[in-house]
């Protein structure tokens, strides 16, 4: 497992460089928007990656509630953290694109609002993890993870009637896209997924190490107590 990490790291780096080249040079320039449209190759893959990570968080939270498995808790923590980072990227790249194209940075549109609320829910999740005492954190966080994920469809329905000016979804929506652009988009998504996986993996190892160290410390102080009592 440990040897695999640098290999995956190098492969991801190569993939990211290739994806960057494709997005900036390889992809055809959009007719009306021009080069601004190229931010799309970061915006959309980040959004998809964030949604997948939040979904994994939901699954891991349920698994933890049923099995009380430490690894599931660590997966939930890691995916929430990395998911929030990707969601932040979505919320930052969106306005950068919107400013020249729509003429405004932000609008209370259905898709923008639902992404923002999603971000808020998972930031509150991270707050809970930070502020609760360590022994109870996994359980409370798992409960919030489930409630937060259940909230998502309601967020979607509650702002259903907000007018939308966001472009239609590329997949499963009414939007259409040049096959060459789609190709670049999918390469970028693959690169982002690999990158997210790599960061999650690294963060998971760090968290595991941290917990092992904490457990050792606790054991050591326990043994010290027994030694001094003798």
């Amino acid at each position: 497992m440990k040897r695999g990490f640098p290999i995956v790291g190098v492969l991801t780096a190569i993939l990211l460089i290739y994806a960057l080249y494709e997005a900036l040079v390889g992809a055809p320039t959009e007719q009306t928007m021009g080069n601004v449209q190229r931010i799309f190759y970061y915006h959309v893959p980040s959004a998809w990656t964030a949604f997948i990570l939040f979904f994994i968080n939901f699954g891991a939270s349920i698994f933890y509630l049923i099995k009380r498995n430490q690894a599931a808790d660590m997966v939930a923590l890691v995916t929430a953290e990395v998911g929030v980072v990707f969601c932040t990227v979505v919320l930052i790249t969106g306005p950068i694109w919107a400013r020249p194209v729509w003429g405004i940075w932000w609008t209370w549109d259905m898709r923008l609002t639902s992404t923002l609320v999603l971000w808020l829910i998972y930031v509150s999740y991270l707050f809970l993890r930070r502020f609760s005492s360590s022994g109870e954190t996994p359980l409370l966080a798992a409960a919030l993870g489930v409630l937060g994920a259940l909230c998502v469809p309601f967020v979607y329905f509650s702002i259903w009637f907000f007018r939308t000016q966001h472009p239609q979804p590329v997949m499963g929506g009414g939007g259409s896209i040049d096959p060459r652009m789609l190709h670049v988009l999918l390469i970028n998504w693959l690169a982002f997924l690999c990158f997210a996986f790599l960061v999650c993996w690294s963060r998971y190892r760090l968290e595991k190490l941290q917990r092992d160290v904490d457990a050792d410390h606790a054991l050591e102080s326990l043994l010290d107590l027994r030694g001094s009592a003798r």
Partner: protein, 224 residues
């Protein structure tokens, strides 16, 4: 089932009696929401035409902030003298405690709403163009949505550092869909338009979150 309702009743009556004697929560909530109303009226110009557009939002934001005051005090009482620990050791079902606390908060916030609504009507010159019973329904469903999640998250934030600030941090993001539905429904009814979609959405939200809170409460109460 019998034990559940019995314990719920006893706990609820105890809480209500305590509140009736001290009136701590209701007084601070009343004054707090009064302050919100006054501060808002300085921030916006409460003339009749515009106020109808924003009144739905205003009312609910005031009640949401005031409800947090009550929700924060829900479990604080049980921490003193280790009442909650005693409860966890006892064979009483955890959900009966949760239902009692939720009902208690529901009654408290409903009383607050009943007392504050006339003030809103006077200050913002409100007039409902739609049926008033629908406003009552929205109020009941909306209050339940706030209170059921709020009671649950208050129990959760008991275990955290700086728990007073933790409750709104957890409650507000999850409550956004309910808040949107309440505000839209209230505004629609005040304007004399149909609010059926919002009422159904609010009802579904209540159903889903009540079920999940009941399923998870025992785990959260016994988290160690």
């Amino acid at each position: 089932m019998n034990a559940l309702s019995g314990i719920t009743r006893v706990t609820l009556l105890k809480d209500l009696r305590l509140e009736w004697r001290s009136k701590d929560a209701i007084n601070s909530m009343l004054f707090f929401s009064l302050l919100v109303v006054v501060v808002f009226s300085f921030s916006f110009d409460p003339t009749a035409e515009e106020s109808r557009q924003i009144a739905g939002g205003l009312v609910w934001v005031a009640f949401l902030f005031a409800a947090v005051v009550a929700l924060n005090q829900t479990w604080a009482r049980e921490i003193r003298n280790q009442v909650l620990d005693a409860y966890r050791v006892s064979p009483a079902p955890a959900n009966s405690l949760f239902v009692a606390k939720t009902l208690g908060n529901f009654i408290l916030v409903s009383v607050l709403e009943a007392l504050m609504t006339p003030l809103f009507i006077v200050f913002y010159r409100l007039q409902s163009l739609g049926p008033v019973w629908q406003l009552g329904l929205v109020a009941a469903l909306g209050t339940w949505a706030l209170v059921v999640n709020g009671t649950f998250f208050a129990a959760m934030s008991l275990r955290t550092r700086s728990r007073e600030i933790m409750l709104p941090l957890l409650l507000f993001p999850i409550s956004i869909p309910a808040l949107v539905a309440m505000v839209q429904a209230t505004t629609a009814i005040l304007d004399g338009e149909g609010a059926r979609f919002w009422i159904v959405l609010l009802g579904t939200y209540d159903l889903v979150f009540t079920t999940v809170c009941l399923l998870l409460f025992e785990t959260v109460l016994n988290a160690e």
